[in-house]
Symmetry: C2
Subunit: 304 residues, 2 copies
């Protein structure tokens, strides 16, 4: 079984997780969360989102968050942006990198950003120009790459076209995102292999939601296909706050546990990360769905 010897875990909880919380988390708590995550050894954190406060009120304090957090040596402070205006805000706030998102599904893209894919691509082109002219790294996520709840299966040619368009904007890091948790391990392995064959000059990252319980199996398939950047959210944050079992990202600590148990180095202190996840549950006032968190709550280790 081929597996890489080390990977980068890209933490997206402060963005993908917190934006799904029903309550606004105080800025000082967000800053505290990110600083604690650095201390766990995480090096890349998608820290917030520079989008309209009307669209995502939970992250309306993006500037204050970036201003408040520590910047340890070797860290990459990333933020989601939707357009050139977002890039400007992110640049002014002092992020290292911006992330844009476009959906492989027309129906999902319209729902997500209220634009057609073509309109999105035009907007991202302006965002990319602004980023490059300012010296900011820009990376792109292709949402619903493994299936769409509205359109169903996404063809590989759609992924190819979209990647070529993003590549033409100078983007070198592409994240294939299983937004709705519809992917399966064989599909992940096969898509990543095709993608890496066709775009050897691009770095591919993976982003899984655990909607149907396949998040870690899909991550395993991605690792076997040679992916070395995986996104995850501390505690598995991202589901509906009223139903803790719901459908967040894979939990960072569960991914780290799986990798480290197979001797894949992540650079992350698992015990400290679990403590951070438990602290986060207190901050949010509800349980998070991460599996190691659940185990610590029950204390069970044996079913004999």
């Amino acid at each position: 079984m081929y597996l890489p010897s080390k990977i980068i875990v890209r933490e997206v909880g402060p963005r993908d997780g917190l934006q799904a919380e029903s309550c606004f988390v105080e800025t000082s708590r967000k800053v505290d969360l990110i600083n604690r995550l650095w201390e766990c050894g995480l090096k890349m954190i998608e820290s917030t989102s520079f989008v309209s406060p009307q669209a995502i009120p939970q992250l309306q304090d993006a500037e204050a968050v970036i201003a408040g957090i520590n910047r340890p040596p070797g860290s990459t402070v990333s933020a989601l942006v939707g357009n050139a205006r977002g890039v400007e805000r992110a640049l002014k706030a002092g992020v290292d990198e911006v992330q844009v998102v476009i959906s492989a599904s027309e129906a999902h893209n319209r729902r997500n950003v209220k634009m057609s894919i073509e309109e999105s691509l035009r907007q991202l082109e302006q965002a990319a120009e602004k980023a490059w002219s300012s010296g900011l790294v820009i990376r792109a996520a292709i949402a619903t790459a493994f299936g769409c709840p509205f359109e169903g299966r996404i063809t590989y040619s759609r992924i190819q076209e979209m990647t070529k368009a993003l590549q033409a904007m100078g983007i070198k890091q592409i994240t294939l995102a299983d937004t709705a948790g519809l992917g399966n391990p064989l599909q992940v392995y096969s898509l990543v292999n095709s993608f890496r064959d066709d775009f050897p000059e691009l770095e591919v990252a993976l982003h899984f939601h655990d909607t149907r319980g396949l998040g870690l199996a899909n991550s395993l398939a991605g690792l076997q296909a040679g992916v070395t950047v995986l996104e995850a959210s501390v505690g598995g944050m991202g589901g509906c706050p009223f139903i803790p079992q719901a459908t967040g990202n894979i939990a960072t600590e569960d991914l780290v546990f799986m990798c480290e148990s197979m001797d894949i180095a992540t650079g992350v202190d698992l015990d400290r990360l679990l403590e951070t996840a438990k602290w986060l549950e207190e901050v949010l006032g509800h349980a998070l769905p991460g599996r190691l968190l659940q185990l610590q709550r029950t204390g069970k280790v044996c079913n004999c």
Copy 2:
């Protein structure tokens, strides 16, 4: 990615699941559960346990359960037994197959069956003689094969020795069981490959608990190593009934979903199985941890 084209899902919920329930489930409900599982297309069901009613009062109605259930064509009614006396009872009740368990860990074996491994082997030898002389198929599970909460890592030579002892009793089907959910995918892949190389004449099955969330990833690794018999429990039943998130077997419907989504035929009707798992939650009076069950409760399909 090598994967088999079809597998057998061996349902263990009526035994491994129900024995972990704090309340006694009425015999007629147990019978109903097993009959519903046959109707889902499952062909092998570990239906109960012929052990001391003092040890496992939840399954004290073993004879009545076997007497009550349907026996569709092609079905295998299996039951757990601990010794020759259990084989006698199972034989009289009319099962097709008995399953014995021995732990690879001395400490776990003493805890589980209050005997040393050596004493267990002697007892299983008598059980096997009784089974063979009566024309019953006997299969064996090696518990804690992927690690023990008391002894830690289990060496492969221990598994080899134990397998040779079981093989000497005429046993041809061995289940490697991750009783405490301590295994990882690389370990599963590697152990199964070694096992199949060393014992090509034996059928190997896998049994995972989802204690640390790796149950499906471990199953995937087992499939990649060529295993075609996987055990699972409807709804993921088997955890502590007071904490539904706790550590049962992998959920049968989640395993079936993963396999079918990769075009591995299971012969199981997933919709019907999900209905059965939901019905079982009502019977038990509490939620079960299966991931597709959780999704149906929340109704979420998209995190955009």
